[in-house]
Amino acid sequence: MKMIILIGLNHKTAPLAVRERLFAGCEDAKTLLPEFLAIEGVAETLFLATCNRVEVIAVIEDNPETIDKLKTTLMKKGGLTDGEASCLYIYRDDKAIKHLFRVTSSLDSLVMGETQILGQAKDAYRQALAQNATGVALNRLMHRAFRAAKRVRTETGIAANPVSVSFAAVELAKKIFGTLTGKKILIVGAGEMAELTGTHLVGNGAEEITVANRSQAQAAALAEKFHGRAVGLEALDDALAHADIVISSTGAPSYIITEDMLRQALRKRKNPLLFLIDIAVPRDIDPAAGEIENVYLYNIDNLQDIVDENVKMRRREALKAEKIVDEEVAQYSNWLKELEAVPTIVSLRTKAEKIVRTELEKAQGWMTGMENGDREKIEALVQGIVNKILHAPVAVMKEESAEFSAQDIVAAARQLFRLDE
């Protein structure tokens, strides 16, 4: 009997140092896949290695030795000690399928709902295909895993709302301006967070970045990254008059952008909407500025609250996603069971029997004139021919199911005789 097995470790079970080592050891798919396939009892295999997880999925003969060999090969690759072996998990059959589906649907990810993992899984599958390492069971398994991921993405809101402060700022900017194309950004203070937020805004179409900082050199360095302009803090008034989005993150002890300054700046502007993001602690922008017409001020707490709310929502959506995964697992494992020889032989015989019955009924018309004996002879003849024809495929399926490769032949038989229709 064959089974599906999944051996691996992820960010929940293994510390970074272990993951690093294993990831480095598993980088070369060209040598690794043949090595796994060479293990006795391994029919199909595929492995997925990312910075957060390394997983080997294989269709193997159900015996403890094969599992053991797979595990030791993997441990050798990462130089894992016996003590570190506890980081590895081993899942069989339905549990393995479910784990894989949860991984591709990003339910098992550090940031639930992220999209990267699906791309990485697709790459891993492509790699295995190129090496001819997969067969009927794994091909279908991977397609189903991608399908589950797609369903989770479209049928639940798991990836809907941003779960990082900088992306939350981008979403807010879109709700204020509609489109970010051509919007001008002013970054006050050369902080890392401001830089990240600026990068995401530019990625969404914003143009023209100005960096204002006490230290001109730092401002110039950051401005360079965005192909923007650097100014000193004394030019802040003028810069405010030209900006649509202001991100402030200086270490100043008091407000450096006051209500008055903003009112002055607004008078000089054409576009009235102004989005202020104050991620500094203590705050850079006078909270009273939020009261000004057409000015929208968000501080770090506001943004963090939005993110927290979105994380909660993703968790709620994850419950729906788990249901979808369960459905998909059930479907796949049903299909897998049907790949076994016995049910296929039964349905093949039933189908042949049905054909014989219908054809004989059709022939009732011209057979009425015959004697009973003749009619029975014809029926026996027909039955005999059908049995002879079915004998070889049934025998082969039985033989093969005793061996390991029944899946291919059973799948072929189901397709050739259209048993799934």
Binding site: L172, K174, K175, I176, G178, N294, Y296, N302
Partner: protein
Amino acid sequence: MNFENVELIFFALAFFLAALSAAGYLFSLLVKRVMLAKISTWILAGAFLLLTAYLIAAAINAHGFTNLGPRALFAFYAWSAGAVYLVLQFKTKTRLLGAFIGPLVLLFVIIAAGQEAGKTILPEGLQSWLATGHLALSIVGEILFVLASCAGAMFIMQNSLLKSGKFTSMSRLLPSLGDLDRINHLCLLCGFPLLTTGIIAGAFYAAFVWENLWTSDPKVIWSFIAWLVYGVLLHQRLALGWKGFRMAALSCIVFLLLLLTYILVKLCFSSLHNFV
């Protein structure tokens, strides 16, 4: 061939779809799903096509567009509201505006259903393309102003949500402030010249075809005030650069005032324009 039944069938189907889309839009607001609003937009597009078919059938039955009945008139109100909204959908992704327009279209269709189908508005001899043009232009112009005010109302809602420093699912559902401001701008910009031409056509019609005194008619005075007020709005926008919240608030106030005076005029005075 008699088109009366065809006309009736088109109208009934349009009624059904308009009701369905209005319900869909309101429900999408309730459950906060954009998908429902998207579906409702397609249903509204269907209602719009059926209204078009109905208007054509009605015109064939009445032998031309110049002597259509009151039902067709209100159907035209619904038709223009649908048309303007659907055009805006190409420009901006503001499906939620439908939560305001959908029920408005339905309201006009309901009023239309209450009118007699056959009767023409104008007596024979007074029917003219000038009158039809006057009505059509004024109606589309008025609808555009209604839309400008709807966008204004939504702007105020979104504004207060975003000002609170939170980001709710309602905020996600409503269109962006930038888009709403743009709609307000576009509607005022297109609506004003249309209403102007409509009023001029009406004046010419009264002077040359009807040869009747019209300046003392309360509805005419009301229309003139509306025209003036929207002119002021457009002026604030173009000349003084009023944008965003102030414009949105003003649009809403003006709309409510005009609605109120319209109802007063309708209740207290008799008018030559009693069919509207």
